[in-house]
Amino acid sequence: MSKGPTESHPGKDTEDRPGSAIDRRSFLASGAAAVAIADAPAAQAAEAAAWDRETDVVVIGAGAGGLVAAIAAREKGASVLIVEKNFDIGGRAMMSFGGLYIGGGNRLQKAKGVEDSPDREFADWSRPEKPMGRFSDRALVRTWADNTLELFDWLEKNGIKWDSYRGVPDRLDRNRTRLNVVRWPNEPTTPARGSGFVRPLEKTARQMGIEILLQQQMTKIHRESPLAGRVTGIATVEVDDWFKPKTRTMNIKARKGVIIATGGSAGNPVFRTMFDVRLTEEYQAENSEWTERTGDGEIAAMEIGAALGATACQTTQDDNLITKGRMGKKSNGAITELYPTSPHFFRARALGLVVKDYQNVILVKENGLRFYDETATTRDYEYYAAALAWTGDPRKFNGGGPIWAIFDADAVAREEWDVKPPHVDPNGYFFTADTIEELAAKIVNEYQWRPMSGAALRKSVERYNSFVDAGVDADFKKPRPMHKIARPPFYAAWHTPALHDSYTGVRINTSAQVIDLHGKVIPGLYACGDSAGGFGQHGICRAATFGRIAGFHAAAQAS
């Protein structure tokens, strides 16, 4: 018998006991009696509840990595249970463009006459001259490269339909491996192509008998003792549509392994400021209307001894870890897009506006002052340095506060924006006024720590307008300022940088096993996707590669 939670139903595979879920507080009260008569390790173990469910492999998160891991484990004969915090599957991948860095010389590449190999992939993604490549764990990069050919076939077998290769260089890919999937037909939530990755896998998973428990948040990973022994299962709590815990809790035993696939930590200011102290709470995680990405998997793993991996990948200032994003809505990631009819739209509140040409706006900080050339590309980290610079809040020295796009009616016409809901969120993230001073006075937002000075904003606008006449931006060298901000009404749209990805997480080895602070494997614990550290590659393929490896490895463990 393990030293983990008491097995109240030994031998029952994935048996649900909905009526048996007990309140953690009441358990702790009853557990106290057991502690009194137990030795020390047993006392630690007794902190957990009786098992409510039991399975071979528990996967935490039903995104790209989690779905792949679950199918892989099931394929090898393991019983599998997925817990997902949202009320739908998909995770971050659902809202993505559905692109994978997957090549190695597959049939699509051969048909196009593209020469590729695992060696080439490895060479591309471990390039020392590029910050995006220089900090990755090369053993993991090699593992990814060596698996892409198999993974291509395996994903096809499990329902993925390929669209086409992008055909242009992308990040460290030299125009060979960025392959898009076909969007899931009639996906009702989002036009994003990522549905073409997660929906087919969801279908496959369900056909294989994998149960997906929605609106269940993992709250703890059980280990035989706090920092030693095997991982034995997880605790969960049921959450509401806003991810807020309800009362029903559950303990799920994992006979073979627990796989963390929780999507990273971009939405957790406390966690992300371990790597970059500037990324305080005003910066929103892209797609947080779909998935919060609170680092819960990483934190639970760290609580039982896990280390973080290749943390430098998080601060390369090379990929778009931060994006300029959309504007006019709180969760303003660049590619955020939900149908207004989507069941998730209540969290998004608006679609947001995309700025096609930054000649049409000026960007000002909370004080009404410009701070950089607005036409900066989304990977200009000097732009972010300026945006995240302190402006005087005596109670908050890190982070730079809100960034507001200021524009006029002519800009709206040129960009063909619709400046009404559902495109914008007038509840603190989009404002309209007849004059510039009135616009400044209207800006009331949870992160705007003081009123914006109308005089300062007017001065910024008048000075910028004079730059348009002069043909030179004397302050920030914006290339040939083209359009004045003059014709009423005037607009202010939230345009604070948004956080795109997590490029570090818990440390894993090439089998996707989580490594502890002493360099030892934590038996029974795996991680993949944005929750796993070590390989600073954006997107779905990293998640799928290590999710599949984790699923296979976990399924092969002894019960």
Binding site: F97, I335, T378, D408, D434, A441, D469, A486, P489
Partner: protein
């Protein structure tokens, strides 16, 4: 209530406001009051409250709710005085008989200060460049912080020496799409010198019904000599030699956008200009060109690498 209690002298009442009146409010502003009466643990529902300004009762309200030993009115609105200065109201619970009990008068003095409304301006439809000595027009709008009607009020435009170069009277209808931006188009005397001009608009706000603070705004434009030559500018993408449409072209102060053929025309006097071309997604580019006759200029734009612009 028992006969014994009816016979007892009623307790003294005290008055308070649910929310205090702000110490300063704009003239003529709506001020919301909600009066609470306490001191007698009795239901005074139906009781009368009066608001007195000077000797005049300016509002009355009725106590409509009784809970936790406190009676209160519904929120009701008073209008602040239309003159700037200190003002006071007396909230009065007059002597009255409620439910067979006689209650004595209670009062609460409320004082505050009125201030003028603020104003702010917008100036748009400013042509640029403007030919020297040629009259031109701009559009000016004024807004009251209280959204007051400003139609009929005067605005004036001064050049960079402070000389008045035009005046206008705000119209009676707000600018379309605005809340209460009263506007007019003002004809202005032409500039007398070449180059960048910084002119100003003043709104004294002395002829508005309620007291308002005046405001001013700056606007700029470039004054030029009359054009002499026609310049045809073609913009193509360097790698593919294809025309680039909807490209912003600036020849010194002159502006145009390319058509589907990548072509834009600008008329300008002779001289040396910076020719700048802008299109989002391409490297910004500029070079100096000398215009001494009608001319055709070709400009090549280089597309930015996808990795700099891709957001996925």
């Amino acid at each position: 209530m028992s006969a014994d209690r009816q016979a007892a002298a009623p307790a003294a009442l005290s008055l308070e406001l649910a929310e205090p009146v702000p110490p300063e409010v704009p003239v003529g502003a709506a001020v919301v009051l909600q009066v609470r009466v306490s001191g007698a643990a009795c239901n005074l529902t139906g009781g009368r409250i009066e608001i007195v300004a000077g000797e005049e009762i300016v509002a009355t309200a009725e106590l409509i709710a009784f809970r936790d030993s406190v009676n209160e009115t519904a929120p009701f609105t008073l209008t602040a005085p239309v003159r700037v200065g200190a003002f006071s109201w007396t909230v009065r619970f007059p002597s009255q008989n409620i439910g067979g009990i006689a209650y004595g008068e209670a009062v609460l003095a409320v004082s505050a200060q009125t201030r003028p409304h603020q104003t702010s301006l917008a100036v748009w439809a400013v042509p640029t460049p403007v030919q020297i000595a040629r009259r031109f027009s701009v559009t000016v709008g004024a807004k009251s912080s209280g959204a007051c009607a400003l139609g009929g009020a005067r605005i004036e435009v001064c050049d960079d020496t402070g000389a008045i170069v035009g005046e206008g009277i705000l119209g009676e209808t707000p600018w379309p799409g605005s809340d209460a931006l009263y506007w007019t188009e003002v004809m202005l005397a032409g500039p007398i010198r070449e180059g960048l001009q910084g002119w100003s608009v003043a709104f004294p706000a002395t002829d508005v019904a309620l007291p308002h603070l005046g405001s001013s705004a700056q606007f700029s434009f470039t004054a030029v000599k009359p054009p002499e030559h026609r310049v045809a500018i073609t913009v193509i993408e360097s790698d593919v030699a294809a025309p680039v449409e909807k490209t912003e072209v600036a020849l010194g102060p002159y502006r145009a956008a390319t058509d589907k053929a990548g072509l834009a025309h600008i008329e300008a006097p002779r001289g040396t200009y910076q020719l700048a071309v802008w299109k989002s997604g391409f490297k910004p580019a500029s070079r100096n060109v000398e215009i001494a006759a009608d001319a055709a200029v070709q400009f090549e734009l280089v597309r930015l690498p996808n990795e700099l612009t891709a957001w996925d």
